[in-house]
């Protein structure tokens, strides 16, 4: 603020001084105005002489040019007497000085008072980044990290910090780019691949693209496959129309999960969600019309599951069908009917050890054990 006013005062003072200094300067008696013209014509005549000496024009041309210029020169000299300058008057000079001394600051300070914002300091971006961080503003932090990353783009940790924030802010493209950098700089792990896939999935607005699928597949390779990766691969299978494969993947996950795994709830939700979506072929026409609401769709699914149960009870079927029936019942929330299905299957395949084991595993996985096992 003080620096600004000091600058303002200096500039104003200098401007006023320019006027006063010029007015105070002593001048020679002003030259005859026509003298400038006469000087130009004299120069022209000299020029003609030079051109003639260099052989650029011949004597006749030089003569006629000289005559023409001389005519103009005489005309200019004739005007001379009439154009004498008036002597500088002290009164006028004083008036000018007062106008400069008062008018100049009046206009400039008055104008600035109306237009300016002297209270607003400069805020260059670099200086702002150094200020204490304002935690409440994510954007501010992001720009700080971005600035750091712009300077040092090989900072893998930085990319790892900012990537989930990008995703949270909805900048999925940037998040994917950041995760790519993380993998490039810090190496690939199942979790990082799964995160990259998730960002790509978000960027594609909920579609598992080829890039995303590759990332997810990498995330489930090795000894410690990523749960998140598997979950998304299940979704990918479902998006491909391969519902059985999707459900199988989820089942496997559930079967492998420790009892107190925090993601069990999410898995169950996912299973439920997938079961709700009618399997292919999708109903069309009037049928689709009848399945508008989730309740209607649910009823339709139940109808199909019941039909399967009836068929298996009457005609029998293979182990796969029985497993599917039990799973579907469990997913639909009919725990008792699911247990019943398992019991029936156990009875049917009583001699088959492998079938029994798979039934037990399913019961375990669906949380149906406790009776008969």
């Amino acid at each position: 603020m003080t620096a600004l006013w000091l600058t303002v005062a200096l500039m104003t003072g200098a401007a006023v001084f320019v006027v006063l200094g010029s007015l105070a300067r002593r001048r020679e008696v002003p030259a005859d105005a026509a003298e400038a013209d006469v000087a130009v014509y004299r120069d022209q005549i000299d020029e003609i002489a030079r051109d003639r000496a260099r052989g650029l024009i011949d004597e006749r041309d030089a003569d006629s040019a000289r005559v023409e210029v001389a005519r103009r020169l005489i005309a200019a000299s004739d005007r001379g007497g009439l154009e004498a300058e008036a002597a500088p008057s002290v009164r006028r000079r004083r008036a000018a000085a007062v106008i400069a001394l008062v008018g100049l600051p009046l206009v400039s300070l008055g104008g600035y008072a109306v237009l300016g914002s002297p209270g607003v300091p400069d805020q260059p971006l670099a200086a702002r980044a150094k200020q204490a961080p304002d935690v409440s503003r994510v954007a501010d932090m992001v720009s700080r990290v971005e600035a750091a990353l712009a300077k040092n783009p090989d900072d893998g940790r930085g990319w790892e910090v900012i990537a989930p924030i990008y995703l949270g802010m909805g900048r999925a493209d940037d998040a994917a780019g950041a995760y790519r950098n993380v993998i490039r700089l810090l190496g690939s792990t199942p979790d990082r691949q799964a995160n990259l896939g998730e960002a790509l999935f978000a960027a594609a607005e909920g579609v598992v693209t080829q890039d995303a699928r590759i990332a997810f597949e990498r995330s489930v390779e090795g000894d410690a496959p990523s749960i998140k990766g598997s979950l998304y691969l299940a979704r990918a299978a479902q998006q491909d129309g391969d519902l059985p494969a999707a459900l199988a993947r989820l089942k496997t996950l559930m079967e492998r999960a420790p009892k107190d795994a925090p993601y069990l709830g999410a898995l169950k939700d996912e299973l439920q969600r997938m079961a709700e979506v009618p399997p292919l072929p999708l109903p069309t026409g009037a049928e689709a019309e009848a399945l508008k609401t989730p309740e209607q769709r649910m009823a339709k699914v139940r109808e199909m599951v019941d039909a399967l149960g009836d068929r298996l009870a009457g005609e029998g079927g293979d182990l796969g069908e029985w497993l599917r029936l039990a799973r579907a019942r469990a997913v639909l929330g009919d725990t008792d009917k699911a247990r019943a299905a398992i019991e029936q299957a156990r009875a049917k395949f009583s001699g088959d050890g492998r079938a029994a084991a798979r039934l037990d595993a399913l019961a375990l996985g669906l949380g149906l054990e406790g009776r008969g096992a």
Binding site: M1, A3, L4, T7, V8, M11, T12, A14, A15, V18, V19, S22, L23, R27, P30, A33, A36, D37, V40, D43, Q44, E47, I48, R54, D61, A65, E68, E85, A86, P88, S89, R92, R93, A96, I99, A100, G103, L104, P105, V107, S108, G111, Y112, L115, G116, S117, P118, V120, P121, D122, Q123, P124, L125, A126, A127, R128, D140, S143, A147, A150
Partner: protein, 661 residues
Amino acid sequence: MIAEAGHYALVLALAVALLQAALPLWGARARDAALMGLGSPLAVAQFVLVAISFAALTHAYVTSDFSVLNVVENSHSAKPLIYKISGVWGNHEGSLLLWVLILVLFGALVALFGRNLPLRLKADVLAVQAMISVAFLLFVLVTSNPFRRVWPAPLEGQDLNPLLQDPGLAIHPPLLYIGYVGFSMAFSFAVAALLEGRVDAAWARWVRPWTLTAWLFLTLGIAMGSYWAYYELGWGGFWFWDPVENASLMPWLSGTALLHSAVVMEKREALKVWTILLALLTFALSLLGTFLVRSGVLTSVHAFAVDPARGVAILLILSVFVGGSLTLYAFRAPVLKQGGLFAPVSREGALVMNNIFLTAACAAVFIGTLYPLALEAFTGEKISVGPPFFNMTFGPIMLPVLMVMPFAPLLAWKRGDALRAAQGLTFAFGVAILGTALVAGFLRGGPTLAPLGVGVALFAMVGAFAEIQERTKLFRAPLAESLRRARGLPSSAWGAALAHAGVGVTLLGIVAATAWSSESIVALKPGETAKLAGMELTFDGVSQRKGPNYRSTIAALTVREDGKVIATLEPGRRLYLARNMDLSESSIATFGFSQLYASMAEERDDGQTGLRLHYKPLVVLIWLGSVIMSLGGLLSLADRRLRVGAPRKAARPAPALQPAE
């Protein structure tokens, strides 16, 4: 503090300009040397203040100070430094500040180098310059202030329009503005002459160099703008008769006329009144050009009405300066003494013809540009005046100018001999006929008149040097004698020849690139090949790149001729992230004076990529010719000789024709 200091400097510059507009003028009327002497120091002070202000704004851009609204609206922290700087004038407010900076720079130059100007003329000129800068400073401060602040400051700017993020923008507007503003000098001198009621001998000596400077920068600026549009817009066109382009062409046409009539005035003290009128009109057209582009009138008359403060201010400035100066002209012009007489066939006569046709061409452009705007403003009806109108009017008007151009330098002042001049052009005429015949005989396709266009262009190019040939007695005297004479020739003679040849070169480029260009719009899969003008362009596929503030998709093309790789092209599309704007980036390969031009249209779902391919023969000549014109102007400017029009005898003694011993 720096931004506010810049703001204050600008307000203070306004106060200084007010003093500079009033005190020297008062002094000139009262014949008071002390007051007249104030003009120079005030002009310098004003320049220093505006320069401080401009530097402060540039500082805000470079440091990404987003507390300045103008920076928020036109910059982004991720933008490369060069575009942070050029972004200063890449917007309405900043460009007007640049305009004012150049204006006060010219004022300061008069103050510093105009020591030999008569005191009163200098005082009047500086006062008129100051009036212009008062108007513009007020306009900037009140309606288009680049120093408006925002509190609290946003964290990021909205980025500069990606179209403007190009090296072309860094150079184009300053060149154009030096041109526009340079004509303000001619204007100020003209108004000063009208105020005094007489034209000093020094008047012509001063006006011509200023006009020449303005003209050569304007020429470069227009050429630069044309080339920029050519490679940036992705259509392969070099001139669109777009109102923005026309706005710069009009002052160029009348400025060219002014340049030539100023020669007559300087050498023969004739055409005084006309020259003064041209000086007034040229600057009026420069003002119009600045405002047409800056006010938004061109996008729509409605956009103009949305921001009435700016619109009204613009109309006010235009009417005060144009109306005021023309009124002054009406009252004072009869007082000016008319100069020497001349015969119709003479150098003066040819220059008058040049003036008549150039102003007529300018009028045609003026009507074509402004009539649709006026019609929309009054009746609401939207019409579009396109290239056909300009091709029908502008072309035929310019043709006589081009035909007479080689003759004029061969005619003597006061009274000339058309036959002798025609004899001097025999060789040029022969070349033109031969060129036309060859082109018509060997090139298929293209409009019927195109070979004639080539002929006119060749005539202009070769004919431009006829005067040099005559004055150096080349082919008629020993080579040594010719060389000695060539060295003795004033650089302005070389300048005129070069500038006139440049016009021919540009014309040749325009004719060839318009008549014999080939174009192909194709959709290719990687590995596929398109053919154009005897070349094979193989599409190698698409890749992604990341720029500082954009992502780009690039299509790679390999160009082969007879199986040999002669070039690679990489047209692409850039997505600018801050504005989410998608922009085509064309790629150009130059072979001699011809260019192969590729731009990428879109990637399609079926794996094909849309490409627009052009082959433009001799297209580079268009801009090369403009550069040659400007070089001619520069040479002419370097000629510090005083000019005296010496009438040459029509009948020359024979010795020159005798064989060398």
